[in-house]
């Protein structure tokens, strides 16, 4: 009897330790996968951009679409945006909602990303304030968006990603960007939304300054 109870106790302690290790893996281990995928997507994207443009260029789900950079979050802050927002897509990096506007288009360019786990690309977007810049690099152009506001909504509040946020019926006239992520950190109870507006379009510098893209 005593052996049984002791065995049970040891099992419980072991299970607790394994769970703790799993939490650690969630937070820090999952980033390895994202980094691998980002490296791969970044190389693919650079290669595709160097090749001559095809007239009917269409981004496939799960493939790289553009680069996002946010100077406020550090000079090295740079992710490849993936087309699609399924779980598999978001494990690779921030994802563009299929069907919403493409970068620089009239409408709403919506990007979703992990706040924690999987390299946590959008971990610090809560620090963005009005006027901070979000840079989106595409094949030819760089789109400079400026943050206009920030809010916290329910997870099923799809109106924030409408072409005109919060007015699903209205026709868009402005070129907007919307970033969505989980809120609060380590939870999925709500969503943190950052809105921005296109302020400038310029030619993309051929070789981005970061060393990764140079190869």
């Amino acid at each position: 009897m005593r052996t049984l109870i002791r065995g049970l106790g040891e099992l419980c302690i072991t299970a607790g330790l394994v769970l703790l290790l799993f939490v650690a893996y969630e937070l820090w281990g999952t980033g390895r996968y994202t980094r691998e995928q980002q490296d791969r997507l970044g190389k693919e994207l650079t290669k595709a951009w160097q090749a001559p443009a095809v007239t009917t260029e269409k981004v496939k789900l799960g493939r790289g679409l553009a680069l996002i950079r946010i100077p406020k979050l550090g000079r090295d802050y740079r992710y490849v945006i993936v087309e699609g927002v399924t779980r598999a897509d978001l494990r690779k990096g921030p994802g563009h909602y299929p069907g919403t506007a493409m970068p620089g288009e009239v409408g709403n360019f919506v990007v979703s990303g992990h706040r924690t786990t999987y390299s946590a690309p959008f971990n610090r977007i809560g620090e963005l304030r009005r006027g901070d810049r979000i840079l989106i690099d595409t094949r030819r152009r760089q789109f400079v968006y400026q943050v206009t506001g920030r809010r916290i909504v329910e997870p099923d509040d799809v109106e924030v990603i409408a072409p005109v946020p919060n007015h699903p019926r209205r026709r868009p006239t402005e070129r907007l960007i919307t970033l969505t992520t989980c809120h609060p950190k380590y939870s999925a109870a709500e969503r943190l939304i950052v809105h921005g507006r296109l302020v400038e379009t310029r030619e993309r510098v051929a070789a981005p300054t970061s060393p990764q893209a140079a190869d």
Partner: protein, 64 residues
């Protein structure tokens, strides 16, 4: 359980036994971290930053 493992660890002296125990623990942790967790993790998801309707991850048509 742990007492049983301790008795079956190789080595006569306490030091070698302790080393063997550490090595065993390291192997278990590595196995969990690199094999079990990567397989298990996609099946449980805690953090999904998508705004969507009542069905999360069915996000091909965000406009409804």
């Amino acid at each position: 359980m742990y007492a049983w493992i301790w008795r079956h660890l190789p080595g006569e002296r306490l030091r070698t036994k302790a080393l063997a125990a550490l090595a065993l623990a390291a192997v278990v942790v590595a196995l969990l971290w690199y094999v079990v967790f990567p397989w298990l993790e996609p099946k449980v998801q805690f953090d999904h930053g998508v705004v969507d309707g009542p069905t999360p991850s069915a996000s091909a048509s965000p406009h409804r």
